[in-house]
Symmetry: C2
Subunit: 215 residues, 2 copies
Amino acid sequence: MQAPSQRTQVKRGRKRADYDPQLVKQIIDQSLLCHVAQIHDGYPVVTPTCHWRDGDMLYWHGHTRARNLYASQGQSVCVNISQLDDLVMARSAFHHSVNYRSVTLFGVPQLIEDESEKRRQLELFVERLSPGRWQQLRPINEQEMLLTAVIAMPIHEASVKVRAAPPSDDDEDYGWPVWAGVMPIQRQWGDLQQDPKQTEDKRYPLPSSPVNGAI
Amino acid sequence: MQAPSQRTQVKRGRKRADYDPQLVKQIIDQSLLCHVAQIHDGYPVVTPTCHWRDGDMLYWHGHTRARNLYASQGQSVCVNISQLDDLVMARSAFHHSVNYRSVTLFGVPQLIEDESEKRRQLELFVERLSPGRWQQLRPINEQEMLLTAVIAMPIHEASVKVRAAPPSDDDEDYGWPVWAGVMPIQRQWGDLQQDPKQTEDKRYPLPSSPVNGAI
């Protein structure tokens, strides 16, 4: 599959590269955290933030004066969404690697001005984190809507890099007497910790976990 | 504690901000992955990469033509190192949050030209990932050294943001009948998976896990 633009063309490790929109969306959906890079006052700034997806658009939100929204005025940004899956322990230092899933997006984000669309996106965000929760919450009010900015970016200009394999050593090194293989990083949801301000006799339904096992 | 520069001054959520160098180093050491933002051809690019630290310097490496080394010619970069620890489930959508540890660094990285220092840093990198391993590996050769660039950046210009707390709701919302609290994300090392090309009768010592429980 072809890269959608020159800047998404993966330069190093092309055999690990892909541009399949379904794979892009899958990796976006599996992660809760993205990193947004913008140019501000001439220097690069990268900000971690939580994202969500609706169709072919990526979304994030913030306080209307937050740093992750600098580029809301039509400036190009770059977003990376990565999960580190394994350390890959080879026979030589040079062939040590990591297994990972990574998406890099380029695009121009836009503020969502339409009030009902903004509200709908915030609902999608909460529902992604915990399906069924939006309706259980104290409803969002006008002041909160004013303080919350939601930004949308098309996910068309995207590249994927994935590595998911044992070590790849030089042919002559496979007999080298050192353990080789992968050290997996596991992520899971721990036991829910109820707010100490809710006394134990308040037995509300427990929140559900994020959609698609995203973590 | 004062921010070391104007651009490290945290704008939003100042009560979660810190500039303590020891805390900066601790969060750097706890993570294996960083995100490096650079300007390339006038647009921002963010690249995930593995980092390590030696004293007051942050290091990463790559193929000599890799994208994470664009800025090796004296250009300012921004690096973020973040761990997402919990989803924070409040009574209102607006007060939903996440618990996290995040360091943001600004600086000008430099290529390490000195051959013995470069080799020493690559050893520190491998030893951070698995203490004792460097000596067990097939020794690094001249060609591999030529293909590997190591970049160093001072970690002086740094800010920290940390949130580690239950939800913080509006006073009048504490009685709202919805479960509130945190959903912890746990990370751990899974069972080692030996390279299928090493037959089971080859019982080499197992690799050790990263220093300081970094993950």
